[in-house]
Point group: C2
Chain length 480, copies 2
């Protein structure tokens, strides 16, 4: 937490960031100067001025929360980023590594030696180490593993065994457990003996001798209840709980729906394994939203803003290749009708309108359906109803916008038949867009795929090639 | 919270939902049968069987959390939705109205009379009533307002005065305050006298006589500290706090960065006004993500899945109109080159490739930049660096994909010059896409606009018209 005396939270942070960037520039300026000037005693100048500059920078950094340091590192080009990174106090290393994006994390880890990495990892909890594990060299992980006490070793092994989108990957092990037959007063005394409670503790978990979860004791309940009463009288037996194999998305929705702060994770036999906290859920939501935004345009990973060009090219190439293939197909569809275009060249100028508006309508439909699927608002029976409704919308849109493009065409080319063909092609392509726009995400889901991923590219491919075919085909049939 | 005895959270819920849909179908079937058959005593049959069916349905609904009822209502077509809505017990009305989407809320409110609406609103807290206010008829709001005690009236007025994207709109008034000079034991006794603590209470707010915020007393600290110590010794004076006029997005980022559960909202003079809870933040995040997804394709509001066709058309029309205008412009750009196309009809088939790939690349750039802007990773100095980097990526992509399309063109049309023109046009359009892809979101932000909103449509317009112009222009200059 940061001290904010009645000041705007963000502006305060912004000021600190600017100060650091300013100090960094000064440091680099002097360094450049010393090198350029070929000064008689460069080491001396450097040692006096630069030591002061670095000390100032370090002082500013020490005042920041690790998450804010992470943000600064994200903002800086690689060279500057590493200057700052080397100044961060080593107790923060682990947390900063957790906070930065995958891309920036790689650049930081490459700058550290194995000893530093092991030290950084050892500051973290088992579940946090598991989050870093994919980016750490295997010999570092080996050392970290050896250094852990037995219990945490097991936890680390467990945490690493779950796929990224499972509840198990969000789970941590910071649970406080109590027995159901003790008095509240005893619980209070037990807590008072602890040096601190885990972050986000809003409830204690009530378990029996075999660690089976019996209920939860909400701190809110604990605080208002009579110290003489027994845990069973005060605890909540109805508990929202998850299996580690449940989808993380499921947990997210439960947290949203039931306004949870923490929730228990249990084994299939009902043994308490750990808990999920709301901050893990928020991080997951943010990452998922990012992933979806990137997927829509085919960025395969989080990209370091200042990544080398070749890395960026690699990150983006797959989608462009797919896009190119669909563009080639559309191009060949047009190629089929080259004779028609030669006879009536206006067709070439008009055809992108049909394809473009079709793509836009199709994407509107897909966005609606994907959202409804994600929130669980669609069931088996609704598919037909949804198609019917989207077809209805398309007919109305087709008539309205078909008329508009028909009139536009007539105004420019003074050709009534051509205007009618445009209007009809528009209507037909919008119907195609609606039909495919409902079917693509629902079919993808049925086959266990993510309905959002790639749907936009698919619908655009269909409405492009389909739109060209419909329009040029109609024109060939009716006009030539 | 729902009871889940070691069962998969979601499957359990799914089963309950299916049961309700099944009961609803049965109810509707009997009702249809009675009407069709013209049975001798329809009222009798109806009264016996249907009363039973309705009672079963009501029984199932009573077992559900309001958020789950909201989800069922979202899933159902209007007619079925209203049957269920009338069966929901009235104590839940307010909470269900809060949980459903704007579109579905309207359909539910239209089905209620003023008395029911007033009763529903009165179950809610002032900040929740403020969330419903825009959808309630003004005479209902007047009645609700009159019925509130003075303090809540002021709160309601305050809550309604903030724009939707301000911290004030996320704020609630459920704060517990303590004085700094009392003993912990007194605080504990004070809490024990309360019948319950507000949801999400993870800290008490320490204020002076004039309600100025002095610090917070974390429950986690409270529980482990010596009952004889004084609040000042135990409290945390460094507090993350917001002004009600701060941007809600700012609060979101602070909650993410510092892993908060609640945070104080204070007046510019430092007086405690209320608090923001993590569940309000999660709801805001979800709504914002939804809004962005809709904005990308131009859906102006959340759309009821089963909205009447004309409502959906209206919801979608603005974007289609803009899209049509840009398509008309692109069409006129092509129109400029009709002579060239007449001479070399292959141009018509090839031009969508240049435009399409350009649009894809531009959208990749925009997505990266928008995300970096949202996370605050871009500062003044980086604009030039980002443009340089994206131009670099475009040059590499342009050379790779330019070669591919050049070869494709040569393979199909056996025309080397045409292939070279394709390759060159591709390179130039990708450069255009990179340049505009960085500039659009950064310029929008500079003028205080949302960088995400509409950026995708703008870049596509530029790469379409620009791509056609570049390709057809080059072909006219070099080939004809």
């Amino acid at each position: 937490m940061t001290e904010e005396n009645n000041e705007n939270q963000d502006q305060n942070l912004e000021t600190k960031l600017q100060k650091i960037v300013y100090l960094l520039q000064r440091y680099k300026l002097v360094e450049g100067f010393v090198r350029l000037q070929d000064a008689p005693e460069p080491e001396l100048i450097e040692s006096i001025i630069q030591k002061q500059n670095l000390a100032n920078l370090r002082g500013e950094l020490d005042k920041l929360h690790p998450a804010d340091i992470a943000r600064i590192l994200e903002m800086l080009p690689l060279e500057d980023r590493l200057i700052i990174w080397r100044l961060v106090k080593s107790e923060y290393d682990g947390e900063v590594l957790l906070e930065v994006s995958d891309a920036v994390r790689q650049s930081l880890i490459e700058d550290m030696d194995n000893k530093e990495l092991v030290a950084a990892a050892e500051q973290l909890d088992a579940d946090e180490i598991a989050d870093l594990a994919p980016d750490l060299p295997s010999d570092v992980m080996e050392n970290v593993f050896q250094a852990l006490p037995m219990e945490e070793r097991q936890q680390l092994r467990a945490a690493m065994s779950y796929p990224e989108d499972a509840v198990g990957a969000l789970m941590d092990f910071d649970v406080i457990t109590v027995r159901e037959d003790v008095r509240i007063e005893v619980v209070l005394r037990y807590l008072r003996r602890l040096s601190e409670l885990p972050d986000h503790t809003d409830q204690l978990f009530v378990v029996d001798r075999d660690e089976h979860l019996k209920g939860v004791l909400l701190l809110n309940q604990l605080l208002i209840s009579d110290p003489e009463s027994i845990v069973t009288q005060v605890m909540t037996p109805k508990v929202v709980k998850f299996l580690p194999d449940n989808k993380a998305e499921q947990a997210t929705q439960a947290f949203e729906r039931y306004d949870l702060v923490t929730a228990a994770v249990v084994s299939p036999e009902g043994k308490l394994l750990g808990r999920v906290t709301v901050n893990a859920v928020i991080d997951f939501m943010r990452e998922k939203a990012d992933l979806e935004a990137r997927n829509q345009v085919g960025l395969s990973e989080e990209e370091d803003l200042f990544a080398p060009v070749w890395k960026s090219v690699r990150n983006r190439w797959a989608w462009l290749a797919i896009n190119l293939v669909t563009a080639f197909i559309a191009s060949r569809v047009i190629g089929l009708f080259e004779d028609s275009i030669e006879k009536l060249v206006a067709l070439a100028a008009l055809m992108p309108i049909i394809a473009g508006v079709g793509g836009n309508c199709g994407n509107q439909t897909i966005t609606m359906i994907v959202r409804a699927l994600a929130l669980g608002h669609v069931n088996q029976d609704s598919t037909l109803k949804l198609i019917t409704k989207e077809i209805g919308v398309s007919i109305v849109n087709g008539i309205i916008w078909g008329t508009v493009v028909g009139l536009f065409t007539y105004a420019i080319y003074q050709n009534i038949q051509l205007g009618l063909v445009m209007a009809l092609a528009m209507l037909l392509n919008l119907l195609l867009a609606a039909f495919v726009g409902v079917l693509i995400p629902i079919t993808r889901l049925k086959f266990g795929r993510d309905p959002a991923l790639g749907s936009s590219v698919m619908i655009t491919a269909v409405t492009d090639s389909g739109g060209f075919f419909i329009f040029l085909g109609l024109a060939t049939l009716l006009l030539l």
